[in-house]
Symmetry: C2
DNA sequence: AATTCCGGAGAACAGTTGTTAACTGGATGA
DNA sequence: TCATCCAGTTAACAACTGTTCTCCGGAATT
């Protein structure tokens, strides 16, 4: 199915990816709204004008980064939420997944946390849209759970949003403790696990 | 007690406040890391160099804005959490307080949400510190509640952080619905109320 | 083999930025 | 009254920004 790209398109995608990577690196110490187009091209080693061959503006590049950071995460979350027998196991798996992802893709996580409420409207919108999809997918998985019997669609979506937000809080905390000693990271893991456990308990008794 | 300031110091504080106000306005459409010093002075109508009489840099100004936005909020939260007879009343009062504050100080709320994970380290640190104080104060109030009997200090602080984070989620949602029709704002209020209610239920059954 | 296509380079544009130094004039305190 | 102080001004610096237009050379197409 996958068609072999011509030399030309392959080179184009290569520089495009180089621009995305360079931008992601530069964004570790600043926000997207202060990221300059020349700054990015300088980091890659191409002429400033080459930028326009790939993106209309840095805001446009930001939207592409949102896709890269969150687009491939949907199946992971699906599997994590779905393939668990108990609530406790679901929590453990979720925390482990998040911790692992923060360790392997810290720049992506930082970018999302930073730009979710950042100064670039199209990027905020793109993130909002992706998180909305996550919430909807979590809701669908929760609906399959026998424990969700008697729950309204509205309440299920409410709980799903609570879980998604809590995932971001968790990711952000892991990110801050990334340079800290191992024991501090373990402390964070214990904290967020108990928080999700408390939410899970609230879910159990919601219909009382 | 309050000493009447001389003409000189009064004028100085006046321009200082004008700089803070102008910056806060400009930050509605961008992040602090892209805010220029000249941009701020131009908006106020003073020479660029006058900026240095008040702040070392825009990052310094950002830290001052954190104080202004969060410093005066401590007694409000204290009163809201303390002066409630039931959990349900506490939730209602908290949601009303947040909604009111978002309507009266939207720029402050936006600034905090934006810069909490923003690109300026000293500002992130200042916000972190203030939120830590909030969590500690909420913990102290929760500790007084008879329902907290049997809770460990650690678990109380865990719950306090959960509440503080949920307050920010709530404020952010209200902020996004600020331009939306009244019915949408009511929908948001219902959503966040149910989320806090679920957390509150989790608290009730934590020791089971 | 000849032609078109197109990602990238180069140069130049006006406009912006942070920071320095030296200066002004009214409030302040002796 | 006179000297001091100091918030704000003016001018100038090199360095940077986004954007336009023109051009090049190799890949793609015919």
């Amino acid at each position: 199915m996958s068609h072999t790209l011509g030399i030309r398109q392959a080179q184009k995608q290569k520089t495009r990816q180089a621009l995305l990577d360079a931008a992601l690196g530069l964004l570790e110490e600043q926000s997207l709204s202060s990221l300059g187009l020349r700054e990015v091209t300088r980091a890659v080693g191409v002429a400033p004008t080459a930028f326009y061959r790939h993106f209309r503006s840095t805001a446009d590049l930001g939207v592409a980064l949102v896709e890269e950071a969150l687009g491939s995460l949907h199946p992971m979350i699906q599997n994590t939420v779905a393939g668990a027998r108990s609530s406790e196991e679901r929590i453990t798996r979720a925390v482990e997944l998040i911790a692992h992802h923060v360790h392997t893709q810290p720049a992506h996580v930082r970018f999302i946390a930073r730009e979710r409420h950042g100064g670039v409207q199209p990027v905020r919108e793109a993130i909002r849209s992706q998180l909305g999809r996550f919430a909807e997918e979590v809701r669908a998985e929760l609906a399959k759970d026998p424990e969700s019997a008697g729950w309204s669609e509205d309440d299920l979506l409410m709980l799903a949003h609570l879980f998604v937000d809590q995932m971001l809080v968790t990711a952000s905390l892991f990110l801050e403790s990334l340079e800290a000693p191992e024991e501090e990271q373990e402390r964070v893991a214990q904290l967020v696990t108990r928080q999700m456990r408390l939410i899970s308990i609230g879910r159990h008794h919601w219909l009382d």
